[in-house]
């Protein structure tokens, strides 16, 4: 398994948010994470990236276990993943283009010309070719999100973590962002996607994981999760959202 999460637990002070997460994703696979609001989906991504250090359990990438207490190990892991946050978190002091190139150039030491060419190309492909010099607060939510996706892609991650790539967008924007991700899905990058957009999840995922009470309660192909869930908790959740 490429991204292997075992018995992962994490908490915010007294609140035990993750309580033994098991989730394995193979290379090039796209797994979506669904579950009620507050079930800890964002927290799982934060724990994997080490922003919220796990209190128990292990995460390994390509067989290498991440030691969250060791700076070198954590840096190495982070150089292989990229995350698109639920709130985008674009750097407010940088333009669209600067946001996309700053890490590859300043942190990874790649040539600016080369990275900029890539970034321009990606930004053009997501329809932002004319916004290179705009600042994040001059962009709509959907535009910011696409920039955040491009910023993550410029890092050439092996694993891409996407948090609620659709929730903050109006319905028209959703399709723009989804198209971008579909475009990527062809490029065999391993993805863990948190989403509320069930039609999208069904469409794009190889497998879907249902999360509640700090655990992954069921995981399987979209047909299983949406049409024939095996676990009562999953069935209730799917019933509830499909009634909406």
């Amino acid at each position: 398994m490429y991204l292997d999460i075992r018995g992962l637990a994490a908490r915010y002070h007294e609140l035990q948010v993750l309580d033994g997460i098991d989730l394995s994703i193979s290379r090039g696979e796209i797994v979506s994470l669904i579950g009620p609001s507050g079930s800890g989906k964002s927290t799982l991504l934060r724990a994997v990236t080490g922003l919220l250090p796990p209190e128990r359990g292990t995460v390994s990438i390509g067989g290498e276990e991440i030691d969250y207490k060791d700076r070198r190990s954590l840096r190495a892991a982070r150089s292989r993943l990229a995350i698109v946050f639920q709130q985008y978190n674009l750097f407010g002091n940088m333009t669209v283009l600067q946001n996309a190139v700053v890490a590859p150039v300043k942190i990874r030491g790649r040539s600016r010309a080369e990275v900029e060419a890539e970034a321009r190309d990606l930004l053009a492909r997501v329809g932002l070719g004319d916004k290179l010099d705009a600042y994040p607060d001059q962009l709509s939510g959907g535009q910011q999100q696409r920039v955040a996706i491009v910023r993550a892609l410029c890092l050439k991650p092996e694993i891409l973590l996407l948090d609620e790539v659709t929730s903050a967008l109006d319905p028209e924007r959703v399709s723009e962002v989804l198209d971008t991700i579909r475009l990527l899905a062809a490029e065999h990058i391993t993805m863990l996607i948190v989403s509320h957009e069930m039609s999208f999840v069904r469409d794009v995922s190889h497998r879907v994981a249902f999360m509640a009470e700090g655990r992954v309660l069921e995981i399987g192909p979209p047909e299983q999760i949406f049409d024939a869930p095996q676990v009562q908790r999953t069935r209730d959740f799917i019933d509830k959202i499909s009634r909406k």
Binding site: L51, R78, Q87, F91, G92, V102, A103, K106, I107, D137
Partner: protein, 237 residues
């Protein structure tokens, strides 16, 4: 004394030697101010960073920063100055009054500037730092590329108003016998020159020192105001 008498005194007041005295005093005031501002910026930033840090290793520094800032901001400048002045005598350091004044003004401005910078750093959202962290930005890279550029628009206005106040406070160095502008004014009046003219000149010199600083402040503010991110976060004044 009539106005024409005053005018008549002018050439006698502004002799070469008196002008030299005033000029030298103005330079001392400028030195005290500039030194205090620059040291305050550098060490104020370091103390603000220490106070924000969560590293266990930096805990003693964090505690020091807390005590330093909280005490020194609450003590009148004159008291600190006297403490350093007599303290250095008691401890047997043979320091020139100017050295003592430079040290104590810097100590004070560091405390104030540190608080201003800390508030500015706090105004930058934690999520900005997290975004940098997962992309493997180091501490100083995050500070230089992400945090400070967003903190400056919040820091600059209060820091420049503080600097303008600070320049005036350097007058207290005269109490330790430093020949700065106020002291020079006193010397000239005791020599029998019109206090009105002498302190008029002193006033003018203070203006000459602090006005460019205020201009620099508003120049930097408007330049930073152009960058978009600062609009939303700029407090309404």
């Amino acid at each position: 004394m009539s106005f024409s008498d005053l005018l008549g005194q002018l050439p006698r007041v502004f002799t070469y030697y008196n002008l030299l005295l005033l000029g030298q005093a103005a330079l001392t005031t400028l030195l005290l101010s500039a030194f205090g501002c620059i040291v305050g910026l550098v060490f104020g930033l370091l103390l603000a960073l220490a106070r924000r840090s969560h590293a266990r290793l930096l805990l003693p520094l964090k505690a020091f920063a807390f005590i330093y800032v909280e005490i020194l901001r609450r003590v009148p400048f004159l008291v600190t100055l006297m403490l350093f002045f007599f303290g250095s005598q008691v401890l047997g350091f043979d320091l020139a009054p100017l050295t003592i004044a430079l040290i104590s003004t810097s100590v004070i401005s560091t405390a104030f500037v540190s608080e201003i910078i800390r508030a500015g750093l706090d105004a930058v959202k934690q999520s900005q730092i997290e975004a940098a962290t997962v992309m493997n930005f180091g501490f100083w890279q995050t500070l230089r590329l992400v945090v400070l550029p967003q903190a400056w628009p919040v820091i600059l206005p209060p820091i420049f108003s503080y600097f303008v106040l600070f320049i005036k406070d350097t007058a207290l160095a005269s109490q330790a016998g430093v020949l700065e502008l106020v002291q020079a004014g006193r010397i000239l009046t005791t020599k029998g020159f019109s206090a009105f003219i002498v302190f008029g000149a002193v006033l003018l010199l203070y203006f000459v020192i602090s006005y460019p600083l205020a201009r620099l402040g508003s120049h930097l503010e408007s330049r930073l105001g152009v960058s978009r991110h600062s609009r939303a976060r700029r407090p309404i004044s």
